[in-house]
Symmetry: none
Amino acid sequence: MESGDRQEVFARERQQHIALSVEEHGRVRVTDLAERFAVSEVTIRKDLRVLETEGRVVRAHGGALAPSRSRAERAFEVRERLQRAEKERIGAAAAALVADGESIALDASTTALAMARHLKTRGGWVHLTVITNGLRIASELAGHRGITVALPGGFVRWEAMSVVGPLGGGLLEKVNIQKAFMGAAGFTLETGLSDATEEEAQLKRLIVAASSEVVALVDHTKWGRTAFATFCPTDRLTAVVTDEEAPAGMANALRQRRITVHVASGLEKTPSQSSRRSADSTALDMPS
Amino acid sequence: MESGDRQEVFARERQQHIALSVEEHGRVRVTDLAERFAVSEVTIRKDLRVLETEGRVVRAHGGALAPSRSRAERAFEVRERLQRAEKERIGAAAAALVADGESIALDASTTALAMARHLKTRGGWVHLTVITNGLRIASELAGHRGITVALPGGFVRWEAMSVVGPLGGGLLEKVNIQKAFMGAAGFTLETGLSDATEEEAQLKRLIVAASSEVVALVDHTKWGRTAFATFCPTDRLTAVVTDEEAPAGMANALRQRRITVHVASGLEKTPSQSSRRSADSTALDMPS
DNA sequence: CAACGAGATTGAAAGCAATCGGAACCTGTG
DNA sequence: CACAGGTTCCGATTGCTTTCAATCTCGTTG
């Protein structure tokens, strides 16, 4: 950019070339690109980071690869990777709150997916009914002994692999749900649980309305944030499952409102014998 | 691939190859992989550990195995393999019958899944609406430019990864469908299209009722067989897409009833320029 | 028109993290 | 118990992130 004989090459322009190169060859290396465009490797890495957030390449140590899967799968997997460890723990703790014979609802969040995997692993169900608007969750749980899966009807939102829309009402108005386990994009005391899109929020409101109890599944990054559309006020919540880094002040405020706060710590390792009674080990007491 | 002139391969890339290898062969051995990628066995074991945490392989002494798929996935895959080549061709021919701007319905059959894959590949859609009760199809088509996917509500039948049940009515009573593409377990002139379970047939009847035209997707093994529940009488059919081995007599009888019979031969290869008019190349004339 | 500041782009440098394989040591399997 | 196979720890190397400052563009202001 500074001087010399090179022609002007805008950053954006260079990124396009990199993207094309990845498309063509399937893989590129940082060192090669730096040489080819006569810029530093730092700059190339910045370009790759931009392209990665756009979903056009997948970064790897030393370079980048062409994204293999379809757009929907990619978008979903990116979200799934974020705070994976926390979601895993939250999912395990939430799964422990479910008793055989219940009817529960799960939304289409990645945290609920983690929970579904734990329900699946636990096994031994005689009659568990799961209502979900998440295609991934439905696929995951289908065919497991003792688990019945129901989906509301509607349009498929590929960003979340979820079913939304006014058409979905039919099922949700007819069923009774004991506990709804809901992820969210934001969670504050004042606004409750909120999500990024109105259509997703609409369907979640229906789920909430059909449920006796509502359990929020929110890792610490969701606390204190507000997303576009609220679908569940704080007072409607029965319990909140979160991780250790959630702000203590807000957690205490929730307890004062008689909302149980389950903190899923990374320590508890009871994969097999965690019956539904013993597993909420860290509930109700949070250090500091 | 094997050795010698090995180019720099990113760790992530190598892991992808290992995962593919496991998927394909069902099992891999550490020593083989170490030789193939010209890295130490320690490194391969680290790769396998990563892939295991991602759930893509299951480690074992000496190597790794493909993760045992769920009952639902196994059942589905078995059906998918049967007459795969025929289903592939039928799917391609059927996809050629779809025009941009239409609303179509697909059932949860594996033949419809093959068709969906062709719709996806074809691309260039501006506004195609697909109503399906197949979870696999919905997942496959979601997120593709110009394609809107809708699902009826209901319970998930794991055997077919389909949505069934009386609750699903809501959506299907409100929408208009131009063409319904329906697989079947049996097809005769007298009984029409039939399926093995009543609940699946119930939902298909709703789809048929909501559609202007009905196109049957039936490979030759379905002809002349009758399954438990009929969901569409022969006279309701607009067209039938099948393969070359379908009985000529029955095909002619269909044509006499003014039902178009498309025979998907293995020869035609018109992936790009097959507009909706030209694509029924083998329709209406069946040799021998 | 010069001066100024906000914003974008770039890369040098320093510190951090991932990758890899060797070696010592542990473990599952026959 | 023998031993192939696995784990853990370590250091070397390479690549990555962050910080910070230099440079350039562009719009605004005096």
